[in-house]
């Protein structure tokens, strides 16, 4: 189990701890550079202590006085089955008892994990980054391998620690301001003086300068999801309209050019007043503009643009000018709403108003893109009224292309799960199933609920399972993650905002009212670890199959039921022991103050040997199981304790486990269909293999029999031959082997050869005929057209005989359209010698013999 994801191995040197040792010295020697403790592996003193075992061990060696095993078992079973305690017993959960795994995370202040975050609205590539990453980048930038560099990097880490402690206690703020305050705090707490203090202040100043770029720092609390939502939406919008601003401006310029060009042809443009204005004040008195105007206005009036076109162009221009503000507006700048037709940074908190806003935006965007398209046609002067008027009259959302749709600002809707009313739920489902691109942040405030009063068992609320329902709708981008899963949230928000349809981000934001002992981060992380609120993304845009769309790998140890990890503790004797523990839903529920009566921590004297850890109990649960499941916990004083859970809790755990298996199957882990198929296929292959082996064995036996038979025959024959020769009656006539008699007769081969000969003769005959045809064809003139260089010689000589084809290369169009003389002359003129004049059609043409002689080199 990994509640707090460790940074990369390079970070394992735990800069915080090293930093604390730097104070007294100015330089740090090399051996210190790599030293330091790994904050994730606590020392033995940090481990919780196991109390002395009070119950009888199975071997029965030590039985303390007053230990009553039967009575203990009765009490334990009574609590497990009915949740009842003896009057003298008390429930465990005074708020300080926590699941054993939480023990190592009880103090997050010195740990480096994904929070706090730095949010930078102006940089789409790095809009949200963990503070530790920002600090690491800064260290890489300003430090080197020298002693001074090492010293500086440690001071920067110290600054990080100070910033972190301020953010943890407050709600965050601008990074530069926090860094200033943190630097003051570091300087104030430093024991350095004189030059060394100056160096410290210089190092901190370098760090502060490096941190100016990023914007705000936020910690993990109930508001974090909303802040990340707007930060990502801001980055997403900046990315969407990058490049478009310029396009719109260019179009506006060009439309203005069109209108200006038209205006300059108008009589108003040539009026004396206008001319005076265009010359300016300086020379205004030296020129007679009235005269100038009359000269310019004389003659034919310049043709003007049609009125309909002028109106169309100015209409399109005014639409673009109006909507340009949407692309120019800085997200969150708080500009006056009246000047911007669409407030892209507006986050709606009500489904109905989001739907209204969507319709209003689409109306505006359709008119904008209509304006854009008209503008594009107009600036190219290719607007044809006969075609385009009709097209643009019916222009609506259906006409928008994917690129254009992606430029429509998404509607942001933020809902708190507890505030969603019945009507709101209906509209929400309508939005999700309709496919309109409304991006919904659904903040789940409580995963478990009780339907039917305080005595009813706690069940998972439908609100926490809304994401699963949305997956079933098939066309919604779905992210389900607790607010602690920062990487899943970052990727999910970015992808969901890019997705062209609706997106549902179901984020568990922690329940501080019922879990006061836990920080929001730990609460949220535990919800995912305990499989109550698994991390899940469903991206319908990624492909057709579930395998492409669903991703559940962000869950830790996603291939098993419960995350499992080794837990270390000290025995009463001071020895360090380790035990494998699973983190179940019950561990998560243990911290819920509403369920305190469902857990009981009996004193060690009341334990019994039939008590088993819950994850083991669940693994081997069987009918009529008499064992008592417990959770390993640590109380406020660092002592190990066992918390007995009631059957109602176990049922809740089983329901969560069942849901987790469902999620696993969807995510392709232990998919039952696949497992069945694999089993079947294995069986089939085994069957096939067995048949193959049988067949090989059978063949082998047959072959052996056959070989033995042949061998026997041969031996008998040899013996017989030898006997005949030795008997002297032989005439040395060899015995004809049997095989020869089976040779094919020669007759058929001869017949085949005859047929082949005839075929050759026929082919030869055909060839001769073809050659004769070709000889005849040489009489006609022709041109090697592909080699023609289009020099115009032949076509200028006789445009009737010679013509150009589509590639402007010459061919003989009509050989009879001129005398043979022209063909010969053209052949002689052709610079690439590709005209072949053939033979004269009219042998009576004058000088035909001479022409034939001249034509000879070209035939």
């Amino acid at each position: 189990m990994e509640m707090v994801k460790d940074p990369e191995p390079a970070d394992r040197r735990n800069p915080f701890d090293e930093e604390t040792r730097i104070e007294g010295s100015d330089t740090v020697k090399g051996d210190n550079k790599t030293s330091g403790n790994d904050s994730t592996s606590p020392t033995a003193e940090d481990l919780p202590v196991e109390p002395l075992l009070a119950w009888t061990s199975p071997e029965g060696e030590a039985t303390p006085d007053g230990y009553d095993a039967v009575e203990n078992l009765r009490r334990l079973r009574r609590f497990y089955l009915y949740g009842r305690l003896d009057p003298d017993a008390v429930h465990s959960t005074d708020g300080s008892t926590i699941p054993a795994f939480f023990y190592q995370y009880r103090d997050l202040s010195r740990r480096r994990y994904d929070y706090p975050l730095c949010v930078n609205g102006s940089d789409p590539d790095a809009s949200v980054r963990p503070l530790r990453q920002v600090i690491d980048d800064l260290v890489a930038e300003v430090s080197d391998d020298s002693d001074a560099g090492e010293r500086r990097s440690r001071r920067i880490y110290k600054l990080e620690l100070a910033i972190k402690s301020m953010v943890d206690t407050k709600s965050g703020g601008r990074l530069s301001e926090l860094a200033d305050r943190a630097a003051q705090r570091v300087v104030a707490s430093s024991k350095l003086s004189g030059d060394k203090k100056d160096v410290l202040m210089e190092d901190l100043a370098v760090a502060r300068d490096g941190l100016q770029k990023t914007d705000r720092v936020i910690s993990c609390n109930a508001e974090t999801a909303g802040q990340l939502f707007t930060a990502h939406a801001s980055a997403d919008w900046a990315e969407r309209c990058a490049g478009w601003r310029e396009d719109v401006e260019v179009l506006i310029c060009r439309l203005q050019d069109v209108l200006n060009a038209d205006f300059n042809r108008s009589p108003q443009a040539k009026s004396a007043k206008r001319l005076r204005e265009s010359v300016g004040e300086r020379a205004a008195d030296d020129i007679d503009f009235g005269e100038m105007s009359s000269i310019l206005s004389g003659g034919e009036p310049s043709p003007r643009m049609a009125k309909s076109r002028r109106e169309r162009v100015s209409g399109s221009l005014s639409t673009l000018l109006e909507m340009k503000a949407v692309f120019d507006a800085e997200f969150g700048s708080g500009e006056d709403e009246a000047t911007i037709p669409i407030r892209i940074d507006q986050v709606f908190e009500n489904c109905a108003s989001a739907v209204d806003a969507y319709e209003d935006r689409m109306r505006k965007m359709v008119s904008f893109f209509k304006g854009i398209r008209v503008a594009r046609l107009e600036v190219e002067n290719s607007y044809r009224q006969s075609v385009h008027d009709e097209f643009f009259d019916g222009f609506d959302m259906e006409h928008l292309t994917g690129d254009e749709l992606s430029l429509c600002p998404p509607v942001l809707l933020r809902l708190k799960s507890d505030n969603v009313t019945e009507t709101g739920t209906g509209v929400l489902l309508e939005i999700l199933s309709s496919g309109v691109p409304i991006k919904i942040l659904f903040e789940v405030e409580d995963i478990f609920t009780r339907v039917g009063g305080a005595t009813a068992p706690s069940t998972v609320s439908w609100r926490a399972r809304l994401a699963g329902m949305a997956v079933a709708l098939d066309s919604v981008y779905v992210l389900q993650a607790p607010v602690s899963a920062q990487s899943a949230i970052n990727t999910g928000f970015a992808q969901g905002l890019r997705y062209p349809g609706p997106a549902l981000f179901s984020v568990y934001v922690g329940t501080s009212s019922t879990r006061p002992a836990l920080s929001t981060f730990l609460d949220a992380a535990a919800s995912a670890e305990s499989r109550s609120f698994p991390v899940l993304t469903f991206d319908p845009g990624k492909g057709e199959t579930l395998a492409e769309r669903i991703d559940i790998l962000e869950n830790s140890q996603s291939d098993i039921d419960w995350p499992n990890e080794t837990f270390a503790y000290r025995t009463a004797d001071g020895e360090v022991c380790e035990v494998d523990l699973g983190f179940t839903t019950a561990d998560y529920l243990l911290c819920d103050s509403r369920l305190s009566e469902q857990f009981w921590c009996p004193a060690p004297a009341q334990w019994h040997e039939d008590m088993v850890p819950l994850h083991e109990y669940l693994r081997e649960a069987r009918e009529g199981d008499t064992r008592i499941p417990y959770l390993l916990t640590v109380d406020g004083e660092g002592r190990l304790a066992r918390a007995i859970v009631t059957r109602a809790i176990v049922l809740s755990v089983l329901r969560c486990a069942s849901h987790w298996r469902h999620v696993q199957e969807m995510g392709g882990i232990n998919n039952s269909f696949a497992l069945n198929l694999v089993a079947k296929e294995k069986q089939r292959l085994a069957e096939e293999k067995r048949c193959e082996v049988d067949a090989i064995e059978k063949n082998y036996v047959e072959q052996m029999d056959q070989d033995l038979g042949e061998l026997t025959r041969e031996i008998v024959q040899r013996i017989a031959n030898r006997l005949i020769i030795e008997a002297g009656g032989g005439d040395n006539t060899p015995i004809t082997p049997l095989a020869e008699s089976a040779a094919p007769g020669g007759g058929s081969a001869l017949a085949e050869a005859t047929v082949a000969d005839e075929a050759v003769k026929e082919a030869a005959q055909e060839e001769v005929e073809e050659e004769e045809d070709e000889v005849t064809a040489f009489d006609d003139p022709y041109i090697d057209t592909p080699l023609c260089t289009s020099c115009n010689e032949c076509t200028q000589l006789n445009g009737q005989i010679f013509a150009y084809n589509d590639n402007k290369q010459a061919f003989i169009q009509d050989p009879s359209a001129g005398p043979y003389k022209d063909l010969v002359r053209a052949a002689e003129l052709c610079p690439v010698r590709i005209i072949h004049p053939g033979k004269p059609r009219d042998s009576s043409e004058p000088g035909v013999d001479e022409l034939l002689r001249r034509a000879q080199p070209f035939i």
């Binding site: 310029e246 401006e249 260019v250 310029c253 203005q256 050019d257 200006n260 300086r282 020379a283 030296d286 290719s382 044809r384 075609v387 385009h388 097209f391 259906e398 006409h399 292309t401 592909p786 080699l787 023609c788 260089t789 289009s790 020099c791 115009n792 010689e793 200028q796 589509d806 590639n807 402007k808 290369q809 003129l829 610079p831 690439v832 010698r833």
Partner: protein, 333 residues
């Protein structure tokens, strides 16, 4: 439905342009002039690529070849001697949406325009530059040019050209940032077309030297090449030119030459006994000047007007007692 959207109706506006649509005025080159073949091949390219005439520019300097823009029904700029390339570069940087072609003769490019040629190669702006190399100044009636072979008698060298001819291929291949160099002869139309097409699709400055016959002044210059196909060496490569079977059978000398191999390209360019035909060198990764100096955004109408006003003010006529001195800065004294 079926992935179709109704905006597809706009597509039926497309027109198909034939070769005749690209024909400007009737050509007035001498009969048999090799320029005709280059013109046809270029028009074929325009037709096959369906280049919009209003988005295509042919720029030339002075010379026989410089008449090229007159014969293309596109935009054209018949400029000053040797200054075709800087003009084309100006067009290119301000109007990156246009297809730019440059037609230069050997005198235009290799003599008076040499400085521009070298720097155009170095700046590597996206355009096709065709060097119509007929080894002679034809327009001025047979004067020696830098590529005239040694010993050829011309009107300016009656006892034969004194110097060895300049090799435009090795000169271009020696310039920093070279990105496309090819050589082709105009009397094999298919090859000519293919080379121009490859050059057109190359992103950068594509330099093609086209060996071109001048039947009037140097009728016998290439006769040995014409009558003996074995003197041509066709460069072929999967990444360069594909040679079709017909041409491959007639011109039997081939070499498998990888156009990314600059050293081999330089060796090929220096060949004395054979005339290489095909793409000698190609490298699209070279930076293009227009990308480096791309204007960040188009000026607004007001900015344009302001700049124009400023330019006009430089030539303004002001009364003598005006505060403005006529020194052209328009700022006042």
């Amino acid at each position: 439905m079926f992935g179709l959207k109704s905006q597809c109706v706009l597509d039926f506006e497309e027109e198909y342009r034939t070769l005749d649509d690209y024909q400007g005025r009737l050509s007035r080159w001498c009969p048999g002039c090799g320029d005709n073949g280059i013109l046809s091949a270029t028009q074929r390219l325009c037709r096959d690529e369906q280049l919009p005439p209003e988005k295509t520019v042919f720029v030339s300097g002075i010379g026989c070849a410089a008449r090229f823009p007159h014969y293309m029904n596109t935009y054209g700029f018949h400029g000053l001697h040797g200054r075709a390339l800087p003009t084309a570069q100006g067009v290119r940087i301000r109007r990156p949406d246009l297809h730019v072609f440059v037609n230069m003769g050997d005198g235009d490019c290799c003599s008076i325009g040499t400085a521009h040629w070298i720097h155009a190669v170095r700046m590597n702006m996206n355009m096709v530059a065709m060097l119509h190399d007929n080894n002679i100044y034809g327009l001025t009636k047979k004067q020696v040019s830098p590529t005239t072979p040694q010993g050829i008698r011309t009107n300016t060298t009656p006892s034969g050209a004194y110097l060895r001819a300049l090799n435009p291929l090795s000169a271009t291949l020696g310039v920093t940032n070279v990105s496309f160099v090819a050589q082709v002869v105009e009397w094999i139309p298919d090859l000519l077309y293919e080379v121009i097409k490859k050059a057109f699709h190359h992103k950068g400055f594509s330099f093609i030297r086209i060996l071109q016959r001048c039947p009037h002044f140097l009728p016998d210059l290439y006769s040995s090449l014409l009558s003996n196909p074995d003197k041509l060496l066709l460069l072929r490569h999967d990444d360069g030119m594909e040679i079709n079977d017909t041409i491959g059978r007639v011109y039997k000398n081939h070499e498998e030459h990888d156009p990314s191999n600059l050293n081999r390209a330089r060796e090929i360019a220096e060949m004395g006994d054979m005339v290489p035909v095909g793409i000698l060198y190609r490298n699209e990764s070279v930076a293009r000047y227009e990308d480096l100096r791309k204007p960040q955004r188009m000026p607004t109408w007001e900015q344009k007007q302001e700049r124009l006003e400023r330019a006009f003010d430089m030539f303004g006529i002001f009364p003598e007692d005006s505060e403005v001195s006529g020194n052209g800065n328009g700022e006042g004294s």
